[in-house]
Symmetry: C2
Subunit: 351 residues, 2 copies
């Protein structure tokens, strides 16, 4: 593994608010709903014939339900919710969850791999819809985007910003290949966090670690050309492809991160009150709990409710951690993520 970039002492930063978004216009999809999508209404009989266990997806993978704004494989239409809609609702919820007003937000980072528009910066788009007048940009590094974006936000706060809004939105339902097992794994969501300047030098990012191995960039992407063309649309090339090749590498990426963060901070597993991983699969959550030495009882797992919501997942899990009081003030949390690209990393934040 190559060294990557380790950053330290991005203090004077605190979490002011978090929020999520699952608007009522979308729908909650059970595993049975997906069985029916793949096998038809007589899925129980069909799955039995194929020796498939309908409970595998919950018991082994960890998914009970997920939120979708779209039925995978159906045409993309204009009156459906978009990733931007989910961002806007999540951002408003995070603002309401904080004591920060819109005119105190000095920077906006929008994060998505499922933008509803080509060319347009979702930063500017979301800022406009929120009525927030602050510089805004869009960024992506796949499922690790929230680790990267929190580092960006902490750096802007160090440079003088009072409050930075990070907002993620994904509509994976629009890029999931119909008829595949990926239907179980992919969810839609909006999620947001507001990071704020604080005089308290004990709050902030003790250390962060970022890395990328771009040779896996062809894996788990959407192969169709952009801008789009007839041939790729006809050949259904605008769905996410899955690859096993990156799997072993991803395990290395996940397992490498906690040790680097411990080394950088002098902290150990017993110092961490809450482990917040990007949400992929039950076994991956177990793996990072083992690799970090932080028990599953301290690990946030929202897979059952939301499945994998791409670059919104980590912020969703952060929101859950605050809601359930698994992450309160004056605690120490480790965030870890890895995904498509492969980009990965983590950070230790003192709240």
């Amino acid at each position: 593994m190559h060294p990557g970039l380790t950053l330290k002492n991005l203090y004077h930063t605190k979490i002011s608010g978090t929020g999520n978004a699952f608007p009522s216009k979308g729908k909650w999809i059970s595993n049975n709903d997906i069985h029916a999508l793949i096998f038809g209404d007589d899925f129980q009989q069909k799955m039995a014939e194929k020796n498939l266990d309908p409970h595998y997806y919950e018991n082994e993978l960890g998914f009970k339900k997920r939120f979708w704004v779209h039925t995978p494989g159906s045409p993309i239409v204009r009156d459906e919710l978009t990733s931007a809609d989910l961002m806007i609702e999540a951002a408003n919820n995070a603002i309401n969850n904080s004591n920060v007003s819109k005119n105190e937000i000095d920077f906006i980072i929008a994060v998505t791999i499922t933008s509803p528009r080509y060319a347009t910066s979702m930063g500017a788009y979301v800022a406009g819809k929120l009525g927030i007048q602050a510089p805004a940009m869009e960024m992506k590094s796949g499922c690790s985007s929230n680790v990267f974006s929190i580092v960006l936000a902490a750096q802007f706060i160090k440079s003088g910003a009072r409050n930075v809004l990070i907002v993620g939105g994904e509509t994976n339902s629009k890029i999931i290949q119909p008829g595949t097992n990926m239907l179980y794994a992919g969810g839609d969501a909006g999620a947001a966090v507001i990071l704020s300047k604080t005089n308290d030098a004990s709050k902030g990012i003790a250390a962060a670690y970022l890395n990328t191995e771009g040779s896996f960039s062809g894996h788990m992407g959407v192969p169709g050309l952009m801008p789009p063309n007839d041939e790729d649309l006809l050949n259904k090339n605008y769905f996410l492809t899955y690859s096993d090749t990156a799997e072993n590498f991803l395990n290395q990426a996940w397992s490498q991160t906690p040790g680097i963060l411990y080394d950088a901070t002098g902290l150990t597993a017993t110092d961490i009150d809450c482990l917040i991983p990007h949400q992929v699969l039950k076994k991956r959550t177990q793996f990072i709990s083992d690799a970090s030495g932080i028990g599953l009882d301290k690990t946030i797992d929202i897979l059952a409710d939301y499945a994998n919501c791409g670059s919104a997942s980590l912020l969703l899990a952060l929101h859950k951690a605050r809601e359930t009081k698994q992450l309160e003030e004056d605690k120490t949390a480790m965030l870890v993520a890895a995904g498509g690209g492969v980009s990965w990393g983590g950070l230790i934040i003192k709240t």
Copy 2:
């Protein structure tokens, strides 16, 4: 105008190398070539009948030629150059132009509004193709992306990165509406810069200013839905739309920036050795020269050769400034950009 974000004192940063890319697989297009595309081979007669001056585009708008990898309006095909190809060549040229080796690069920022893939981070993609093992991300804020990305890079250097590669690539030829005047204005290019940590505290960003007014986000975008659908493809909705509405606002944005940078640094126009604006139109370059008080003789103008290359333009102009020695060591440059979104800003860098 709202206040935006002003950052100061991002010193200990220098420019180590710049590069551009116009691979021989693409083609250089004259104004006459475009006249012929719009009006046919007898364009002289046709334009005379319509009272159109064939020299208007050079004399008034400032464009003589531009580089295209694609004929606007023709289908997007797999063997054409992409924005990523242009990024990779420009990055290699910038590395060769510097004394920085690939394994000394600690962070990569890829910038584009014309990505060749949906969902994939061009940061990871380009890192993989370059064989650089460093954390990588993609970002965009439209034509101001290079101002935003240089600020991000300077912050990473302040946090500990040795060298940061920023690489922009655009293939505007793939989103220009055929048959329109936008054919004259849009060019393709790759451009890159390497920013490096230096012990010299006099080198770096004296001040930067960033802002966004997102209510214009619908203007000058690509209206087709993403992921793509048959209807929008049939209706040719994956071309860039143009709007006059943002025009007055853009003038305010451009003209506001120099004063804010002067106030933040205590510098005046006479302290600036080189003005490097994003490249839009001859009159816009004149406008920012007037607004900043920096003479046209100190202003980089590459419109004649390259036209508007979107979020690669400012890096192209920076490369040109170094090539022509209009920007040498121990000088002071002002960079200014504004565009679609609307996002805008600028910075004063001491080299």
